[in-house]
Symmetry: C2
Subunit: 198 residues, 2 copies
């Protein structure tokens, strides 16, 4: 089967998770919503560029990082479970402060400026779907921030293992460490202590 | 003038910031959207309670905190600039893990379960307004999380002074310290260092 067909099947499966979208509308939406396959290692956005699109991860993994004092600092992993890749830079059309790179081969929904408005006019139910997705993403991000504020490094790692279990074995440890605001050495010590007290 | 009238004027001013809502609709919406005045010190939500409402801060300040090892840990300040007080506990109707308390006399929009759906049916433009508000809030929260991950305690405090300048002189320092993930003593040292290098 050709890749384009398989991609559209993935998109259909995703749209079918929203009860508000009828089977008929799923067929129509599948035709108009653009998906793209991107190879591992490709940059979706670099620091200083104005984002031309936002994305939604159907399959794969996108990593967000900043360069701080010459070092990469990972600030987000976007996967099938935490999927909306957007930022104020896209909304405000300002220069990005971070990079977005595909850590795996990815299948993404691509949302381009302008196209969105047209889709909402044609499919009003999309607005409600977007609202639900935004609400979920906002609540998850708020909870991540609260966890980050209140947790010790060890608890932060345990929470990461539990809440982001889909990332298990997909992300190098030094990126996990950076994402949890600690050095690779600290994370390594924490992991040894967890294993030895098991 | 009576308080109810003044509250409705505040609500009108807020609705008027969204160009998509016509002057006519602003009048109608002002009648149906409930606002409440709440005294400083009142709890909107306690740990273990299932939230009955979400809120939007028109005036005043709401603080979110958790109890961790017997100590209050502030995880959010909701003010006129960062205004949407909601959580997955409200969406999922599960028990709250945190407290919400009015740190000042507040004027809030109160969003109750169910009422929302009715308003969206009657005023479809509200859905778009909600989407814009959610997007802004999500992007702001994502940025806060990135800042938190990548910043040193000192930079975190400098960012707080810049981005949350509206909280200046409204929040005790021990709550700011807790919100920035540090002890009151650390924050006090950082503040002294900043003053001495000015």
């Amino acid at each position: 089967m050709d890749q384009e067909f398989l991609n559209k099947e993935e998109l259909k499966k995703f749209l079918a998770t929203f009860p508000i979208i009828s089977a008929d509308k799923i067929e129509q939406l599948t035709k108009v919503i653009p998906t793209i396959s991107i190879k591992k290692g490709t940059y979706l956005l670099k620091e200083g560029e104005v984002p031309k699109a936002c994305y939604y991860v159907l399959k794969g993994l996108v990593r967000q990082f900043q360069i701080v004092d010459g070092n990469e600092r990972t600030t987000a992993f976007y996967s099938e479970k935490h999927a909306a890749v957007s930022s104020k830079h896209f909304i405000d059309q300002t220069k990005s402060t971070f990079y977005l790179v595909c850590s795996e081969d990815c299948l993404l929904i691509k949302g381009e400026l302008g196209a969105e408005v047209e889709h909402y006019n044609q499919f009003p139910e999309l607005m409600e779907v977007t609202k639900v997705m935004l609400e979920n993403d906002l609540n998850q991000t708020k909870e991540n921030l609260s966890d980050f504020i209140t947790s010790s490094p060890k608890d932060r790692y345990l929470t990461f293992l539990k809440k982001r279990s889909e990332l298990q074995n997909r992300v190098p440890l030094h990126q996990v460490a950076s994402f949890l605001g600690m050095t690779a050495e600290s994370l390594s010590r924490i992991r040894k202590r967890i294993v030895s007290t098991d």
